[in-house]
Symmetry: C2
Subunit: 175 residues, 2 copies
């Protein structure tokens, strides 16, 4: 009697404290919330789509000490970024596999807020779930928030899941 | 194995075209979306809470032709408003009853956006679902939107469900 599965796109990123392969606190919170409050025991009724927007510039920071002497060096760097992103997705796909939830995951290079909205257009999910650090207005001015942008511009219903206060790191901009 | 039911608060109002007991197009869309995409066949996993914010002034318009000669006249007007609001809630409660979904419904007088946020504080739902007419920026300046206010101020995750374009009445401000 069940119709086609509800397709939930979840935006995930790496932790700013621990980096790959660790998911950020807010990504993990958004994912766990979706499992507990929406999917519940109805694992067959939903399909999760994990999208990791990889920021090209930011990744470059880790490569400050590297020496680039040939085009191949850049190639190997790109390859490394890809492998790191894959490790992040592995966490979410692994959890879904354990729980018996159908899923797909992929990486897209670019500005996370733009990537989210363009991928919503492309894959047409029923819901977009994004985590949020729950920053105050003052902090938001400097760091911007992907979730606010998506709520305004994504072509599907968006749920923003705020990080719990007791899970916030010392610097709330970290995640 | 199922934990406590997920409690979804749904803001509902009457149609601006047909009035009570007819729900607005966007309320109905939000409700039907919640059934189809979130609850699905898992009727035992969810509890729906219907909140109807009744605007005291607006209701008064219908009484322009009435004559108020005694305090009892005002009493009977208030009584009539209440009965109308109850008819609206009856629609949603009736649908839930048919589907076997546990629910509660109530009326609260006041400005819908304030009422929504204060009731979220009071009943602490897992999710707030609100319909939206999907007005453009120009129209929004004049009519304000309850959904935008809730997304910013409600103390729980909020899902805004936009009315489908083909369901919009001739004047998109109507609902």
């Amino acid at each position: 009697m069940e119709a086609e599965a509800t397709r939930i796109l979840v935006g995930v990123n790496e932790s700013s404290l621990k980096g790959y392969p660790h998911p950020s606190i807010s990504s993990r919170t958004a994912f766990e919330w979706t499992l507990a409050k929406i999917i519940r025991s109805n694992t067959a009724g939903f399909k999760l789509l994990f999208l990791h927007a990889q920021i090209p510039d930011e990744d470059g920071f880790d490569d400050m000490d590297s020496i680039y002497a040939s085009p191949e060096d850049f190639q190997s760097m790109k390859q490394r970024d890809k492998i790191r992103g894959l490790h992040l997705l592995e966490y979410f796909v692994g959890r879904c596999h354990q729980l018996g939830i159908c899923c797909e995951a992929w990486i897209k290079k670019g500005d996370p807020k733009e990537v989210m909205c363009s991928e919503v257009k492309r894959v047409n999910p029923d819901i977009l779930v994004v985590g949020s650090r729950g920053l105050g207005p003052f902090q938001r001015v400097f760091v911007g928030t992907v979730s606010e942008f998506c709520v305004k511009h994504a072509d599907c219903p968006v749920i923003t899941i705020k990080r719990k206060a007791d899970e916030a790191p010392q610097d709330p901009v970290d995640d």
